[in-house]
């Protein structure tokens, strides 16, 4: 059993357990903290896949910036008086459970029956370089220049939209 497999099992267990904890805790702050833990585990998984840049970005952007924002919003909004929809309507709970099991069976069936492509698991030495910031930058500015620009316009439109919806003054 090599070290990669051991690390994968540890990180995957942490990711799975924390994501279950996120949706089962009743206190929103604790849920958010477990979500941070989940992001760290995911970052470790990315590192195992030779995606160093994405792994760092995952920690800086998601676990750092976005989750801090989340926590501030949760603390500023009072969440005590939230109605508990699932305890009111039991049939929704069972329905949701049924759908989750159905989707889980479907996905496991797909992954067990279908054959993943062979080209995805390429040779190791080439893929170590593919996750570095140089390679990603070079790809973004050459082969993927058009998607990169479109993503820029997407963010511009989203920024304008958020400002209109939140701050625009009406006369």
């Amino acid at each position: 059993m090599n070290i990669e497999l051991i690390l994968f099992i540890i990180l995957a267990t942490i990711a799975a357990v924390t994501s279950i904890l996120v949706i089962t805790r009743s206190n929103a702050v604790i849920s958010a903290v477990f979500l941070v833990l989940n992001f760290f585990a995911l970052a470790g998984l990315y590192l195992l896949l030779n995606a160093q840049f994405i792994s760092v970005v995952q920690i800086i952007v998601y676990a750092g910036a976005i989750m801090v924002l989340f926590l501030f919003v949760i603390m500023l909004l009072r969440t005590d008086g939230e109605p508990r929809i699932f305890s009111d309507k039991r049939y929704i709970k069972y329905f949701a459970l049924l759908i989750s099991i159905f989707v889980f069976i479907q996905v496991s069936y797909l992954l067990l029956i279908g054959s993943p492509s062979k080209s995805v698991t390429g040779n190791q030495s080439a893929s170590i370089n593919s996750g570095t910031i140089e390679t990603i930058g070079k790809e973004l500015y050459t082969n993927y220049i058009i998607p990169f620009e479109v993503a820029g316009f997407l963010l511009l439109a989203a920024t304008i939209g958020a400002i209109i919806l939140a701050k625009k003054k009406f006369e």
Binding site: S115, S117, T142, P147, E149, A151, L156, A157, L165
Partner: protein, 477 residues
Amino acid sequence: MPFSNQEYLHLLPFIIIGVGIVFSVVIELITKKSREILPWFSILLFFSTALYSIYTIHNKYILFNGMIQVGGKAAIFNFIFNFAALLITMSSIGYLKKYGSNFGEYYILIQSAVLGMMVMAGSKDILMIFLGLELMSICFYVLAGLNRKKHSANEASLKYFLLGAFATGFVVYGIALIYGVTATTKIDILIQNFSAQSSNIIFVTGLILFIIGFSFKIAAFPFHMWVPDVYQGSATTVTGIMSTAGKAAAFSVLIITLTAVYTVNSPNIFSPYFAAIATLSMLFGSIVALTQDNLKRMLAYSSISHAGYMAIGLTASNSYSISGIIFYLAAYTFMNIGAFSIISIIEGENDSRTNIQNITGLNASKPMLAAFMSLFMFALAGIPPLAGFFGKYYVFIGAIKSGFTWLAIIGVFSSVISVYFYLRVVVFMYFKNPTEDINTDTSTFSYSAVIISGAMVLLLGLMPDLLLNLILSVVNW
């Protein structure tokens, strides 16, 4: 890899709109008069892009390392999107003052949405489809809730956002599975390997999820539940562009990804799916629209049934029916934008006067509006010789050629049902006495939009070959 100057030149339609967006943001920033300048700037942008696209329709290129294509089908779609945005901008000038959210940003968002649609129609890579889809959808979510003081607008925006995000989730999941199997996002490579992969269950599941996501966007039957509320709650002009250009963009993606597949000696494995959603959408849309009194809601249900007619073309998926879909989308764009422009003229403040009772006896006070409204209603019902008739005709002929005669019969049957609620509008306008006087103080630009749409509906109806030959000459590329 450096790209040649030639490639940037061919990308001109995208560059015009993209640079225009940046300029519009600057104009909005530096001058208080932006709301007077930006509509005209947008009209200039849309007009030049539409003209350039149709002018370079036979210059077909795949640019930037197989990311995007210009010319051919993409050029026709660019023409439809830009023409629709142009008409909507014209009718927005007067309407937005009445609606209470006369912002310069409105026009920037319309431009961004058009850029997203153009990216979708021109994409040769699944990544581009996703980015274009998100660019268009995010602009529409914001545009739907532009006036945050209105409950109806808030409801429309939130519903559209949640269900749209849900649909996008399907698309992304589908893309992930497709990429997981084939390790590529290039559509051309996917098409080449389609026959080999079509027995792989992960690949087919990915494609099904992808198609389901876009079935949301075209507003076909089992995925239609957002349509009536969103179309009714949004600003009328926004509904106008959402229901026409937005639908055309989603259809362009389905046409690019699917019909190319079927031509490579492989059977149309998705035709049962499209046959089912076509049948259900046509019948559901037509039957539910019978009981609607609100004009915008009625047109929303009619939009569902029109999505059904167009899905017939995807079921048949021969080159004739695909040309039929594109023609139908062009015709539908002009008919629907005309109808929504007229509603935006009649509409009063606070969403009042959008019911069918409010246009009772419109002929007495506004004979021109009544005449154009009847024209659009006849066209939507598919009465010859108007544009809507030929749209349906070509799609049905395509279906019969592929052996889907029963589907064409259901289509004709559903059209017959739909005549009732379209003609009901005409009856209210002409054969009833006015109950209230309708004072409309909308600018002349709205009337120009109505007149241009009406002219296009008549032109496409009287000389359909004009557009159809153009489409047929590019459809197999």
